[in-house]
């Protein structure tokens, strides 16, 4: 027995029977990404059960949606995923456009891609920085926010807001870009590109980070699909699915002509179009490290898409087109559309009785489904791994509680 204990100190932990204890984590815990309360049933350091309690940020968005017109709902979608509000605006706008069978101008289409992908970078930067915070390292957070701030400056210039944009709207966008914006965006990308290596040095290849995330919270493909997980959480488990490529015609048409490869591990390796570190030996597909790494790859991918969008947008000389009228009536019927938001597949379901006010406005949140899987991932892990697992799902509570 003695030699066993010498080999692995954790064995002591499992050998000693202690009393079961309920530990409350949150709702205002720094590593729960907003107001999420987790109740942990623990036996010593080992968690036997995790129960997430949500609803602290419930603001009745769906009920509000039944009382205002489709375009008036755009600002409420901002406040769902406030870290990627452009993508949320886009999701709702496209769902309404699908119901109305409306097609935006070519110029608006490219501008939407540009803005949405730029916002994806910003959202993944927060995800990365906050994940570092969860694991107890403060500096990556500052490095991530330094760059994110520049993206927010660009957004502020374009639409006047730093977080809740309401820029993309039903039928197009509220305004065109100001002069000189594209140059500033390009110079940002140029300056940002080498910094990604810095992030990889700070986190991706950091020995402590790898120890904390590799082989932790392993989610199988089947589990991810069964729970309806999506986005980097799904792709981190090796499922090759991205709505920008696999989604409905109205959404994939937006990305028509754009070249990008879905960030997913295929045949044991990730698409290699950029200089990035090798997968650590301890990491298993579906663990926290892979979920994190998929996000890092998507930052590069989005950067590439932004560049392509800049080219196409500046080549487009046609008009941007005006958004639809605030009180434009929708045809009776229903439409459901899922778009690829940074956190996953955000679905909007809209039922109309023929008026401008939706009969039912349903938001299917990606973080909601991604968080539901927590109790499966945390079963049998150590208490210290709970923040690592929840953080790797990169949830945003505003979207879960709506």
């Amino acid at each position: 027995m003695a030699h066993l204990l010498d080999d692995d100190p954790r064995i002591i932990e499992f050998d000693v029977r202690t009393d079961e204890m309920l530990v409350n984590m949150g709702p205002q815990h720094p590593s729960t990404h907003g107001v999420l309360r987790l109740v942990l049933r623990t036996d010593g350091e080992v968690v036997s059960e995790v129960e997430p309690h949500i609803g602290y940020l419930h603001r009745c968005a769906e009920k509000i949606g039944e009382n205002i017109t489709h375009r008036q709902f755009i600002p409420y979608t901002d406040r769902m995923d406030y870290l990627a509000a452009m993508n949320m605006n886009l999701g709702w706008a496209l769902a309404v456009e699908k119901l109305m069978k409306y097609q935006v101008s070519e110029r608006a289409r490219h501008l939407r891609v540009l803005i949405a992908e730029l916002n994806r970078i910003a959202s993944h930067l927060v995800g990365m920085g906050a994940y570092g915070l969860d694991l107890g390292t403060f500096s990556p957070f500052l490095y991530a926010f330094r760059e994110r701030e520049k993206i927010l400056d660009l957004f502020e210039e374009a639409c006047g807001a730093r977080l809740t944009y309401s820029y993309i709207t039903v039928g197009g966008l509220t305004a065109d870009l100001p002069t000189g914006w594209l140059q500033r965006c390009e110079s940002f990308l140029e300056q940002f590109e080498p910094i990604i290596q810095e992030y990889h040095a700070l986190l991706t290849t950091n020995a402590i980070f790898v120890k904390r995330t590799a082989n932790i919270g392993v989610m199988s493909r089947e589990l991810a699909i069964d729970y309806g997980c999506s986005g980097p959480v799904l792709r981190g488990s090796g499922v090759d699915q991205d709505m920008r490529r696999d989604g409905e015609a109205i959404y994939t048409a937006m990305y028509e002509g754009y070249a990008f490869e879905v960030a997913v591990m295929k045949d044991g390796h990730y698409p290699r179009d950029h200089d990035y570190p090798a997968v650590p030996a301890d990491a298993v597909l579906g663990d926290c490290w892979h979920r994190f790494f998929v996000r890092m790859l998507e930052v590069v991918q989005s950067m590439d898409l932004v560049r392509q969008a800049i080219d196409r947008y500046s080549a487009c000389k046609g008009p941007l087109g005006d958004p639809v009228k605030l009180t434009e009536k929708m045809p009776a019927g229903d439409a459901y559309l899922e778009t690829e938001c940074p956190k996953g597949q955000m679905g909007f379901y809209i039922v109309s009785d023929g008026s401008a006010i939706p009969w039912r406005a349903r938001a299917r949140s990606s973080s909601f489904s991604n968080l539901a899987v927590t109790h499966e991932l945390c079963r049998g892990c150590l208490i210290a791994d709970v923040p690592a697992i929840v953080g790797s799902l990169d949830v945003v509570m505003g979207e879960i509680d709506r």
Binding site: I225, G228, D334, Y336, S369, A372, V373, R402
Partner: protein, 176 residues
């Protein structure tokens, strides 16, 4: 999208379950008898040629017009409509399954209508059904842990019902 003879196969596997369909709609849907929903979903997820292995969204739509003047003009009878959005990862295809429920069980106001749970088919249905119960007031029979999820546990009424009235007071907090 779902291959020829899809509906016939479903009819052979779960006879009499499909009571309506619209395959020309924006999102093609089939309507099933509410008591057969779990059987239909189990077939769709496990045995159908296109395996719908993921449940994306569960919604309840309350068809009720509280204003009696407007209610006289509508073409439908008051009911609650369940909408399930299914997704097939291998085929990258979607399907909508609908089911019509009465607004209240046995027309007793306050008594939620019942439908079998699909938790046994997709584990992800758990939270979605809890949310529908919480906000729209539909009771999922056989659900392992059906309680409110977004609203506090002692909340009364189902907010997404069209005739819901905002409480004037909640533990001393003014509602208006």
């Amino acid at each position: 999208m779902r291959g020829p003879g899809f509906l016939e196969q479903l009819e052979a596997a779960v006879p009499g379950a499909v009571v309506g369909k619209n395959l020309e709609a924006l999102d093609p849907w089939i309507e099933v008898a509410p008591e057969r929903i779990a059987d239909v979903c189990a077939w769709l997820a496990r045995s159908s040629p296109v395996r719908f292995d993921s449940l994306q969204c569960v919604t309840a739509v309350d068809w009720c017009e509280p204003d009696p003047k407007k209610a006289a003009k509508v073409a439908w009878q008051p009911h609650t409509e369940m909408v399930y959005h299914l997704w097939s990862t291998p085929a990258r295809a979607s399907l909508v399954v609908k089911a019509k429920l009465p607004r209240w069980q046995a027309d007793v106001p306050g008594q939620p209508p019942e439908i079998p749970t699909v938790c046994g088919v997709w584990r992800g249905a758990n939270w979605h059904e809890r949310e529908v119960y919480d906000l729209s007031g539909v009771w999922f029979t056989g659900h392992p842990d059906l309680r409110r999820i977004l609203c506090p546990e002692d909340w009364e009424g189902f907010p997404l019902r069209k005739d819901y009235e905002m409480p004037l007071d909640y533990h001393g907090i003014r509602g208006r």
